[in-house]
């Protein structure tokens, strides 16, 4: 390995004046060698995507690089004209985006879209273009390339679409590949395959890969070198082995320390009474047939059975489409189950009418995934918090009193009650949502992917808070997640769902230690960063800032 493919020197990108800091990226220097995967890690707002976009010349209008240089292919990219830069894009450098849904144009077949790359940048004949395209599809391991060639994006799964995007990026054998969170939107098993593909590309092509991610497991899986960013600055960079196992900078340590451990103290067995008992719960969705398509029936929940005891945390694990969301909706009765029993403290609410259900609503509360969509932007926090108790006939002033108390419990200043949601960060909003759910003193709290959208350090805090509240209030928690690490850390018992079926159940130790169902084994096997044990930060020598 000789010269770096990409070399960024002292790059600074200015933010507009009104922003909370002066620079999106400050004095950043990094290099990408051929056949090397450099992972840029950082939490949201750390400037990692801005670095990628600057290199690609795709910065939004409001941002402009103010100093430094980006050397690539003998040019300084910052001095290049828009036209010359766009000529380099696709031909010499390519980018893979997070969302494979929106990166492909639904109007054209994927074959056409890949061929367009050749049309734009080469003068190959039609037959040659097609042959090259098919070869690319083979290279990214898509089944039956000629069929895929003629398919439209909506006919492919998320993982297949991401492969198409990668194939497009590879079309002209670029020297630099930039991937911005390419696996974040994918299921565990798909993510594993895509990461594997990246590792393979590193071997087969000479390209350097810049891989932007927030997930340390992914870093552990594929990175050669790691660059850690905070507030637009690089705080640490080094080989993956070094940064992951012997982090130097306090911020890196903080991040790595926040990664959930796969192990935990084995709790005392739970002997309390059953709070929730679900038996033979069924829910099917009927998609009405149209003139040209047959009716379809989807079994979202098939004979689901489980019980949860007071003070227990039950994890519900599964990939997208496994029916876990439907199950949750049936439990809180946003959907009506078809048959079965959901008994809360001995009272069956599964098939109750909406009217009879009202007093039982408050026993089960939920915290949703999206911290931005789950608070009404037009009402103050206080107004939203007292909503629940007021609906159940409580005095408003008294409810406000409890709201203030709960704000303290979730570690927010009670004064914020008269603010609007737009003034809070994602983690703070999630705390507010937890407080809102607790306002009606529920017996069961459902956390539906409640920490999935949060940065790892914020995630750690929210998890800690949830645990604390559970112990303090004797809550029973249903923890829905796709993240096995989180599940292993916070849950007592687990059920694993696949296509509406519960395929495995047991304590965390049983399920993760000795999985009996092939699907569970597949999930466990698909986790990235399996070989990496999160180091115990406490045993490392003191940090160097």
């Amino acid at each position: 390995m000789t010269d770096p493919i990409l070399s960024i020197q002292n790059l600074t990108v200015d933010l507009p004046k009104a922003a909370d800091r002066a620079h999106a990226v400050e004095n950043l220097s990094l290099q990408v060698m051929p056949k090397e995967i450099v992972c840029i890690v950082g939490e949201s707002g750390s400037g990692k995507s801005i670095t990628a976009f600057t290199t690609m010349g795709l910065l939004p209008q409001a941002l402009s690089p103010s100093q430094g240089e980006i050397r690539f292919d003998g040019h300084d990219l910052l001095k290049l004209s828009k036209r010359a830069h766009s000529d380099l894009r696709g031909r010499r450098m390519a980018m893979i985006f997070q969302e494979p849904m929106s990166a492909l144009n639904p109007c054209y077949s994927v074959g056409d879209q890949i061929e367009e790359m050749f049309q734009q940048h080469t003068d190959l004949g039609a037959a040659e273009r097609k042959a090259r395209t098919i070869r690319l599809l083979e290279e990214v391991h898509l089944p039956d390339p000629p069929r895929i060639y003629n398919s439209y994006p909506h006919q492919l799964s998320g993982g297949q679409r991401q492969r198409i995007v990668i194939a497009m990026a590879l079309a002209l054998d670029p020297a630099l590949l930039i991937a911005d969170e390419p696996t974040t939107a994918l299921d565990l098993s798909t993510q594993q395959q895509i990461l594997h593909l990246f590792k393979e590309l590193r071997e087969k092509h000479d390209a350097g890969i810049m891989f932007v991610t927030h997930d340390f497991d992914v870093v552990a899986e594929i990175a050669d070198r790691v660059v850690v960013m905070q507030h637009g600055r690089i705080v640490e960079q080094g080989s993956a082995e070094e940064v992951l196992n012997r982090p130097q900078h306090p911020y890196t340590r903080l991040l790595i320390d926040a990664v959930p451990r796969r192990t935990r103290d084995v709790p005392a067995p739970i002997t309390s009474h059953e709070v929730l008992k679900v038996s033979n719960l069924n829910k099917t969705y009927h998609v009405a047939g149209g003139m040209f398509r047959p009716a379809r029936t989807v079994h979202a929940c098939k004979d689901v059975n489980f019980t949860v005891h007071q003070g227990e945390t039950l994890g519900i694990v599964g990939e997208s489409g496994s029916g876990k969301s439907t199950l949750v909706k049936c439990l809180i009765r946003l959907e009506d189950p078809e048959s079965g029993v959901v008994s809360v403290e001995g009272k069956d609410i599964a098939l109750m009418s909406r009217h009879d259900l009202h007093p039982y609503r408050k026993h089960i509360q939920i915290v949703f995934q999206d911290p931005y969509g789950s608070l009404n932007p037009r009402r103050t926090i206080g107004d939203q918090l007292v909503e629940g108790p007021v609906n159940f006939g409580e005095n408003r002033a008294k409810a406000m009193e409890r709201a203030r108390e709960l704000m303290k419990i979730v570690r927010l200043d009670p004064e914020v009650l008269n603010r609007y949601p737009n003034q809070f960060s994602g983690g703070q909003r999630q705390r507010i949502c937890i407080a809102r759910a607790l306002m009606v003193e529920p017996k069961i709290l459902i956390a539906d992917e409640a920490v999935s959208a949060l940065d790892v350090s914020v995630q750690k805090e929210v998890l800690k808070l949830l645990n604390e509240i559970r112990d303090r209030m004797g809550l029973t928690v249903l923890f829905i997640t796709h993240d096995l690490r989180v599940a292993a850390q916070v849950c007592d018992t687990l059920i694993v769902m696949q296509q509406g079926d519960v395929v495995e159940r047991g304590t965390v130790e049983e399920v993760f230690g000795a999985p009996s169902h092939p699907y569970t084994r597949m999930l466990l096997d698909a986790q990235p960063g399996k070989h990496w044990d999160v180091p115990d930060i406490a045993t490392l020598p003191p940090a160097v800032a």
């Binding site: 909370d20 306090p250 911020y251 340590r253 903080l254 320390d257 809180i332 946003l334 009202h358 609503r361 408050k362 089960i364 509360q365 939920i366 949703f368 995934q369 999206d370 931005y372 969509g373 789950s374 608070l375 009404n376 932007p377 037009r378 009402r379 939203q384 909503e387 629940g388 609906n391 159940f392 303290k408 570690r411 927010l412 200043d413 004064e415 914020v416 603010r419 609007y420 737009n422 003034q423 960060s425 983690g427 703070q428 949502c433 809102r436 759910a437 306002m439 009606v440 350090s457 914020v458 805090e461 930060i537 406490a538």
Partner: protein, 303 residues
């Protein structure tokens, strides 16, 4: 050893630059929006003229004077006695214009209020419930869209006779389609938000969800369409009056003034241009107000 705590661990401190409440941010954007400001100022002027008409002119808009017929306005060589001149029956043109603003605004606002109530009720219910309710509402919308507004209005007015009440109710009953269509889809989007689900789980009753969670979040659409439909109603009234089927003479209405001036188009064109220009500016101002409101309320989004 790990004494590094994240900022979120501490109770939330009052941030340095206290972020604006949604209302404050909106006011700030509104003041910077030129179109919105233009529309608002013109609307305000017309509103003042309409309200204070008796103070702005000493003439009665109905008072005829055969001695002072067809006096040209000041800028065409008339006298300051009638600064906008007089019409064919010797009525002061400025007085008729000022009192006419009352009619135009009243028709615009009342028709938009009536259609707004009908349309947004239908739209929100359809969007929220979906399914059969949606089917019925969509059918009603289609039926309404299949009716040519002017033709139906003409027919109804011809049957019942033209009067202010008839014109307002006909327009009110005909212009609700856009409210329904837009609020239906806006409600469908808001309905999927998790805060609506959370409210439902927290035992909120249906009216509470509709008024506290849905309505405030579709309000910006409602306001924008309200202004558009108001302009629409004013124009339609003028058109009906021009055809002689709107408000009846001698009521001072801008459309009627244009209609009455049409015989003299070639000799005294200002009889038409003055109410025409007034109508033009009023409608332009309302439309710019609506456009501006959309710009100011929309970018707020979820944050």
């Amino acid at each position: 050893m790990t004494d590094t705590t994240t900022p979120t661990d501490q109770p939330l401190q009052a941030p340095r630059n206290k972020p604006l409440t949604p209302g404050q941010a909106m006011r700030r954007r509104a003041l910077r929006h030129k179109g919105l400001m233009f529309g608002a100022v013109v609307m305000l002027i017309v509103l003042c003229v309409a309200i204070f008409a008796p103070l702005l002119t000493q003439y009665d808009p109905y008072q005829q004077s055969l001695l002072a017929r067809m006096k040209p306005p000041v800028f065409l060589g008339g006298t300051s006695e009638h600064w906008l001149g007089t019409d064919g029956l010797g009525r002061d043109f400025w007085a008729r214009l000022a009192y006419g603003a009352r009619i135009s605004l009243m028709i615009g606002i009342l028709a938009a209020v009536i259609s707004g109530i009908i349309g947004s009720t239908l739209g929100i219910l359809a969007g929220y419930f979906g399914g059969k309710v949606d089917m019925v509402v969509t059918f009603l919308i289609n039926v309404r869209l299949a009716m040519p507004v002017v033709l139906v209005a003409l027919a109804v007015v011809a049957l019942f006779g033209g009067s202010l009440v008839v014109v307002v109710s006909v327009l009110g009953l005909l212009l609700w389609d856009r409210f329904a269509v837009v609020l239906r889809s806006a409600t469908m989007q808001v309905r999927e938000q998790e805060y609506v689900a959370a409210a439902e789980v927290l035992g909120a009753s249906l009216p509470r969800i509709l008024f506290k969670d849905i309505l405030p979040n579709v309000m910006n659409h409602l306001i924008v369409i309200f202004t558009l439909e108001m302009a629409h109603a004013i124009i339609l009234e003028a058109a009906l009056s021009f055809l002689g089927l709107g408000v009846q003479p001698p009521t001072p209405s801008w459309g009627l003034m244009i209609s009455e001036g049409k015989d003299m188009l070639l000799f005294e064109p200002w009889l038409i241009t003055i109410p025409g220009v007034a109508l033009f500016f009023l409608v332009l101002a309302i439309n710019m107000l609506g456009d501006g409101l959309r710009d100011v309320t929309a970018p707020e989004g979820r944050n």
